[in-house]
Symmetry: none
Amino acid sequence: MGPRGSSMASTTRRVGTEGSATRALILDTAEAVIREEGYAAASTRRVATRAGLKPSLVHYYFPTTDDLLLAVNLKGAEASARAIDAALAADDPVRALWLMHADSARNALAYEFIALANHRKNLRAVIAEHSERMRARQVEVLSRLFGDRLAAEGLTPAGLSVVLAGIGRVLATEDALGITAGHDDARAFVEHWLERLAQNQGTKV
Amino acid sequence: MGPRGSSMASTTRRVGTEGSATRALILDTAEAVIREEGYAAASTRRVATRAGLKPSLVHYYFPTTDDLLLAVNLKGAEASARAIDAALAADDPVRALWLMHADSARNALAYEFIALANHRKNLRAVIAEHSERMRARQVEVLSRLFGDRLAAEGLTPAGLSVVLAGIGRVLATEDALGITAGHDDARAFVEHWLERLAQNQGTKV
Amino acid sequence: MGPRGSSMASTTRRVGTEGSATRALILDTAEAVIREEGYAAASTRRVATRAGLKPSLVHYYFPTTDDLLLAVNLKGAEASARAIDAALAADDPVRALWLMHADSARNALAYEFIALANHRKNLRAVIAEHSERMRARQVEVLSRLFGDRLAAEGLTPAGLSVVLAGIGRVLATEDALGITAGHDDARAFVEHWLERLAQNQGTKV
Amino acid sequence: MGPRGSSMASTTRRVGTEGSATRALILDTAEAVIREEGYAAASTRRVATRAGLKPSLVHYYFPTTDDLLLAVNLKGAEASARAIDAALAADDPVRALWLMHADSARNALAYEFIALANHRKNLRAVIAEHSERMRARQVEVLSRLFGDRLAAEGLTPAGLSVVLAGIGRVLATEDALGITAGHDDARAFVEHWLERLAQNQGTKV
DNA sequence: AATGAATGAGATTTCATTCAT
DNA sequence: CATGAATGAAATCTCATTCAT
């Protein structure tokens, strides 16, 4: 990905007003680029061109490419957190959670950040922490929903979260590649199983 | 990611003796680089340096970077095919298949190629085809093992393959990032469930 | 000076044939640029433009700016070594040594490399070593010329080398800036003193 | 060295109260940066960051980088002038002058400005003038101390100043690089010689 | 079968400077 | 007094690829 200084990415450093419209535009554009072309394509130039800005301006707001990537990651994490909280408030919380995991737009982004974390030691810790926080948040929600009742299925809230994440992600990523064999079957299986679970579920809080 | 020519990948063009030791060395090195640093790092130079060869020589065997990447992908696909066939011959075929899906080294490579396919239209078709072939091969194996008996669980061979792939992949990728919450629970759940399935299984062919 | 990776400069790495005419041209041009505009001006672009080459070609021969700078330094050190050896063979060796130290072209280059060493940890060791080798070579020459006879003046070969280097350098650098006050006086003083020394000198070897 | 506007340095233009604490902070920080990392590192940004200020503020006080550099140079010249005056008032003035010339902190800064003058025509005249003034001031002091008595040694006040400057500078710069061969010998030689001179010296004024 | 030379493109980053508030 | 925004230029480096030998 070109030369990259070895200095730690400064998660906190943030040039430009937080509420700046330009900053938001850059962030949105970068997210779109990452989703469509991968994190490696989120170069200053490409993002700037697409946003109709000068490359230098991108650097003004995000001194380092890492800063930009982490900012997009953070934004995604915040969106996921909101989605989880919304699930808890939904009519059928478990199903809402499953839909979130099977959402391909969300998965495309998440996938990129995992790939990114895998290849850039600098960013690994921050990205991993975001993922862990999402897991924890889901555990909270699922615990509130099921109490101990998941144990009857041989599962735990954390285990359920892992299973849904895995199946959701493989469906989304394969869809993107045009691979579909077994998808409907797997989806039906999960949904059927979740329905059964839902009957076992405690009162919504 | 640096400049990448837009020329169609010449899947078939192949210079250099097929059985050449140099060719094998380049392929192995490229695979290691991809596994450790990601496909974006598999540049002619990097592979050459690491293999102790001149960059030009890499180009001699693989005229295009895409040629090299596809060759590594093909090699991985062949290894996966062998693993699936070996599973069929194992004592506990379903469990062997699950272990294959949960194998982190294999997943690391597979993950890279999915990311690659996602971001390079050129290669998408070839890589997707390899994945589909693997899925088909597993369906064959699982059908032979279970016949119709999976239906009782609300599943199909293809659906089961998808489920195992998803859960296996999420475990492997999160492990790599040091995320472990819920992993043991999910693993126990899958293994317990597979044991139950195995009792339902037909005679090994 | 722009981004600079933290990787150690690879003193030995050397792309392109040693005897290449292009390589020599780049080296000569870089030396001229450094002498005239300072080491900080020895950028790929500037050197390339001045040599009538493409910037990429400079990178082909000297992957890193540090590689280029060190190569120029090495070339200078070799020239100095030859000058010292030539002094030993001259009619009046001590005076020849003094003239070498007072040579402004040589000093301009030396000055740049000391400044460079001062500001780039990477290169410090190599450059310092070159300087030390020059000092050692002079000590050898002066010892051969004077034996113990310098002691009568309260000096040693190494001490004399330091004194000549210091006075020679200040004269050369100030000349370059147009500062001349006291220069003739200092020069006369040194030359008078060296004449006296020469009479004290042993037989030339 | 990055882009550097070609606008003449505005030696006189000076925004911000002369006595401003902020101005002094910027000046001190710039001096430290130059001393430690060289004049080329004294960029608006770097100085600002290190001083905990915004880059724009540095520009507010010093519209141009050249303005900043010259201000630091002036500050250094004033300090040297004070050191020379102090030498005259010292117990052993000649020795005090020598110690000033051998002072490595002072030399590090002086070295940078000579390099700077060498490479930026804009600034050459101003910096050279400062140096010349220091030389003149020393000549005054030495004349007062020795009258004509230096002639017996074949020297003049200006010549002595040059000699001390040269030897002092080479010792200081080589020390910084870890080169020490001959240093003690040269130092002993100079000090012994200065002692002899001192006995020849006139009454302190 | 292998390699040295050359080139154009692009990515990352740093910088000085201007302007409006 | 002070600052945020914006911009254009340049420096460093990496790459894929082509060509001639």
